[in-house]
Symmetry: D2
Subunit: 425 residues, 4 copies
Amino acid sequence: MKPALISDDTRPRVEPAGLSACFEAIWPDVSGLLPPEAVAAVAAGAATADSEGRPCRDSLEVLRALGWPGLPVPVKLLGGGASLAQCCAAQRALGAADPALAIALNMHLFSVGLMVEHWKRRADVSWLLLEAIASQGRIVASAFAEPHLGGSVSRSTLRARRSPGGFRLSGLKRPCSLAAEADLVCFQMQVEGEDEVLVALLPTDAPGLTVQRSWDAMGMRGSGSETVRFDDCLVPDELIYYRAPAGQDDDEILAAGVIWFSLTSTACYLGVAQAAMDSARATLAGSRINHLAATRDRLPSYQGAIGDHTGALLTLESACASLAALMGQGGSPQALLPMCLAVKQQAMEVVPNAIAAAIEACGGMAYSRSLPLERLWRDAQAIRFHPPTRASTRQYLGRVALGLPAQLDLDEAAPQLEKLDESGR
Amino acid sequence: MKPALISDDTRPRVEPAGLSACFEAIWPDVSGLLPPEAVAAVAAGAATADSEGRPCRDSLEVLRALGWPGLPVPVKLLGGGASLAQCCAAQRALGAADPALAIALNMHLFSVGLMVEHWKRRADVSWLLLEAIASQGRIVASAFAEPHLGGSVSRSTLRARRSPGGFRLSGLKRPCSLAAEADLVCFQMQVEGEDEVLVALLPTDAPGLTVQRSWDAMGMRGSGSETVRFDDCLVPDELIYYRAPAGQDDDEILAAGVIWFSLTSTACYLGVAQAAMDSARATLAGSRINHLAATRDRLPSYQGAIGDHTGALLTLESACASLAALMGQGGSPQALLPMCLAVKQQAMEVVPNAIAAAIEACGGMAYSRSLPLERLWRDAQAIRFHPPTRASTRQYLGRVALGLPAQLDLDEAAPQLEKLDESGR
Amino acid sequence: MKPALISDDTRPRVEPAGLSACFEAIWPDVSGLLPPEAVAAVAAGAATADSEGRPCRDSLEVLRALGWPGLPVPVKLLGGGASLAQCCAAQRALGAADPALAIALNMHLFSVGLMVEHWKRRADVSWLLLEAIASQGRIVASAFAEPHLGGSVSRSTLRARRSPGGFRLSGLKRPCSLAAEADLVCFQMQVEGEDEVLVALLPTDAPGLTVQRSWDAMGMRGSGSETVRFDDCLVPDELIYYRAPAGQDDDEILAAGVIWFSLTSTACYLGVAQAAMDSARATLAGSRINHLAATRDRLPSYQGAIGDHTGALLTLESACASLAALMGQGGSPQALLPMCLAVKQQAMEVVPNAIAAAIEACGGMAYSRSLPLERLWRDAQAIRFHPPTRASTRQYLGRVALGLPAQLDLDEAAPQLEKLDESGR
Amino acid sequence: MKPALISDDTRPRVEPAGLSACFEAIWPDVSGLLPPEAVAAVAAGAATADSEGRPCRDSLEVLRALGWPGLPVPVKLLGGGASLAQCCAAQRALGAADPALAIALNMHLFSVGLMVEHWKRRADVSWLLLEAIASQGRIVASAFAEPHLGGSVSRSTLRARRSPGGFRLSGLKRPCSLAAEADLVCFQMQVEGEDEVLVALLPTDAPGLTVQRSWDAMGMRGSGSETVRFDDCLVPDELIYYRAPAGQDDDEILAAGVIWFSLTSTACYLGVAQAAMDSARATLAGSRINHLAATRDRLPSYQGAIGDHTGALLTLESACASLAALMGQGGSPQALLPMCLAVKQQAMEVVPNAIAAAIEACGGMAYSRSLPLERLWRDAQAIRFHPPTRASTRQYLGRVALGLPAQLDLDEAAPQLEKLDESGR
């Protein structure tokens, strides 16, 4: 046995690869669905959208022109036919360009993704709706959030009253991204006196439905997450496309929907993190510390601080991309749901920490409004608020690990405190 | 448009799935390569191996009989033909059964994986070696660790002297897992007066090579990680199968080797984590708190504490499994290396924390030697010591993120302190 | 205005001070109570106690000879008159010398401290007991831990039956440190059919009281934390010195007791941390990395890794020392309790992390039994198990911060899961 | 021996105390120095100062009227005679009221505290300056920050040229809080061609000194941290009150100054944290989750999440307060410096994490500009940027723990990378 000696000149050499090579290895190429020029156009509008607190309509038009609304709709229904992994990759790119617009459109994507999952499992007429969204470029706003809902994804505090031909609904939904820009609104409501939740769609110009400007937040200011108001608004039976008992979340379609949302929203924030890292890289490379005769990026402390978070981010990227791919290959939502929630939960930890560390490394300059870092930082904080909440998700994951029945609604009480409350303290 | 209403009885229902369904969704099934009975047999020997501080030879025989030594060797070279993902899945199962044996065999797997990666890229005679390992069930010990090496993977402190037919070598290597049980030892050495590192194989009964018992550690006690001693030992030219300049790590084969090691070792520790979680689950389900009239697993605090770490573990599992699969599909080592190092680095954080939290949740009982949890805790701590070290990996990842040339050797100095040192402190 | 220019030679210069100067600045000097020779003698027995799994009796004798059992007993009752801060400082020194003995004696200190707090507030005959402990060097074992108690500090699962002259008690207490070495045992029990908890003392040779060897743990192996068994044992009325409703913890004396325990036990573990840091310092200074031509302690990465944890440790030291001092100055237990629990809770995070980081920095050598680091590491893990548990403490602290009534017992339930349990799943 | 049984009605009972009782136990009462009405007046201006990006001049006047500028000046020099602990307590109260104004005034306090520490050690004329500040209510802006300084506290990038009667200086200092509102500016400069740093004071209307508006940051918007520009500005010899070799920080007065800054700035941020916790408490108490029939503050998950951070915050409060007290009692700056830096470093971790967790617990509402939480979150992030930086502090603390000479300047290099840089990459 005599293995040939390997000489220097014949060994395959590894060129120092940056992070982009990493991302290319795990994410599908979506430059066909979302060309670099479009990304650049969207990025150009982000700062203004932030300062004005309104979505960038030009960017929306760019995306409509590319067929964005129909992105996940099957090709035979005139859509883009993008897989979940492709949708994630595209949202990641949008998240790096304009986080607020990306997260707003993510709500559309979630609703449409849910419909696609429904359509895959049903021989019903839901294809009509998907075809309409794709062929006419309709944007669907998701009006699922409500005050006092506590992040539940399978309940509503709004009570609908049976009425000829449908239901009558009054009440508020907020925040509802792109409420003022969308063509349709998707929402849930509970039937009065019954324990049932209905999910329905309405055109945004339906009588009794109005949008109230209320969005003025720390970040994601360009997401247009306003308040939708229903005033005795008729929801026709034929626009109700899903119903289930309140609080029940052991449904494959709902599981698929939560998977869509968990992964695409994580992808948006991974885009935000990449934009922040890119900006920090440039800042650190330009930030000289005179007495060390080096720019910050050349110093082990700064490399290490960035490296700690790069490790966490890359792990998250791999997990997110691979779970999206498994879902697209027909993976069971039942088995994938805990892992997708895990990824969403980890992202809540990893993304804000990574951005904070990058900003801290850059020094006080990064605190200024003159660099994009502070905007990205503010936008990234929104990751803390998307349901399912951290509290319910950790309980869900813990129960799964403990072999117990798990649900997405938080299940807990403090009996001793309740007794005190009742006794009048 | 009138989507059919979905009635309760027709909706696909999601049965509460435990973690095993998650793992099945992401890891290949390796019950063919490693049948459950074999896993059970290996698990049966773990406690004794720990208390005696020696590898379980019965378990080794079980694995030899299954062809374990040739697991990653291509089928046409009479091996198991297992992909990296399959090797990871198998190591994960072994890690849950006997962590010390798993991590010891992982060193074999790393050496053989490296040879396979070499063989894939070369038209040389390395196939002879692989065939011998696979067909004769040879176990290869990896003698790469040395005192004063600081976790470098591309250097040696041992100096080999040119001699007719090869090199003469004296010095110590430690720790070297399975040194006393292996048939061959794989090691690196540096040529005296030159800046070149050679990697070679020797039979463990080569003249001048002895094994000294020295392993007496807190955990991984059954890994047999003894000291290999070379006393003017002849290393023939034909047993040198790799050479490269010292400190140079931009080589695709080395990158592939580090990827193999990063992912298979992470998989071992994921197995340890699963075993600890399984044991904690049973303990928590049996641990009643009288005044709350509930077992601990039924209480939100304990569910949440377990859930926090489940989220981190599942993210890590997904990332590890998917990167192994990408590597098996011919992914570029150059692009995958940072992500695989990221996974290894995250594992150093996630695995010990998860096990500590599980043990803490179980209460004082978990501190006792009567449950396996304390052994698993001790074993898991070894994750902190495998090179590349945390210090060099965070620098590597940080440099990649900053677009700088990166290497696996730590690169740093403290010039002011050096000045003081020189001035005679 | 013309401030004098300060020339180099007249400025007061700061010599590089090590950590010992820091500790001297915040902790009282206790070398009078615990001379360095005694500390050295105790330290000499620690490794053997660990390997044999028994307390070091020689060390106990050294401490008895110094009057340790009466340390916190007022001078006029023939005790050492040590303040809480002095007790903490002494426990810190013992913790560095022999963690297992320190934590075992800490249970004695807690019981005696509780009695002192009681005595300060009462004109009763409790002084007799204190005087006996101090003058005769009696060691009191604390038998408060029970299976199924869930870390409650104001309940018992043992039921005492009224009987002429006292109560009859059967049942197990474990773990009970120094059970086989102590003269007296202090314990709580609940009255059968009543909601009242009694705290009593018994001589360890009382009829019906036996000690069963059961302690075989990962760490703190020399603490002799055996099982105390009561077999229809008579507890005379006159040896009951405290009673309170079960689950009620809003009592100033109990609060004072929890403060004593929180601070003295934290001090023990701060001692363990210092011993580990001292050992790591020597190891890092002796661990050369050849290719960097430096020992590890000279490298910024290792300095930074140690520095992160030094910051957390020093903050904890300051907080612990100052709260002990405030308590000694007559601070209100009511106001100090949340802060002392905060310190104990932080210590559970900070101490194991610091030791793990120190060990990781030292590399694989620290995993070996040849250095004391691995023993200190195992011992330090016990910090996770002392009641009040992390789960109940975080709830307590959260409620205090939220302005709600807080108790030390965990108060929670999972109503939906209970329903499922009841419905027979 | 027969201890009296303790009956329920005679035991001292502990009323549930909130955090305010904790704070009162550790911080001195400063309501005499800073009456509640003044705090309320300052708080009233905070939101406007944030939205306008300018300091609130009314608040400044309120504080001037109270003698704030002379707060730490000894009474015999007509000052407030406040100790460091009192200054911290006052800054904590201000930090809760208007974080931006508090942190801006903290720079004044640091300069004056440094002068006081100087005056205590010297028989020179520095008392004249202190008396002027106290008696005339002068505000001193600290112009120590410079681009490319990398957080060094003992260097300058500005070069002063010797000139008759003093030095001529040109260059920029930024950010310099209250630059446009202050009467005097305190700054450092390096002598051209020499290795010496001078610290001097100038009136803000000195010829050649101008203030340029440049402050437009994410938070601390009302701190007026503008740019100070020197254009061939004469710095008279008699206004130079300190000189030392560049990069030398082993000076007791400098150590005292860093201690002042570390503790008073930490106290400001502890105030911000308390304001955020107070706001979160009200929000959680008003945030009902309908399906759990409880407000969030009543739920164990939310209590626990708040409790985790309360533990860290209270530990930090105790440490900060006690170190300030020790310094005031004449503690050695040499021994206290590492602990004070530890507290500052921990605060960088603890305060932003606590506020983020509080905001996350409140849900999306806390992201809105309608609650003060988002402003407090933005302000709190500034804690990341005050020198000494995290990178240099962890190195400092690590070196102290390792028994090595330590300095506040970061000391590191990456030799291999430098070689590559030099070779023309």
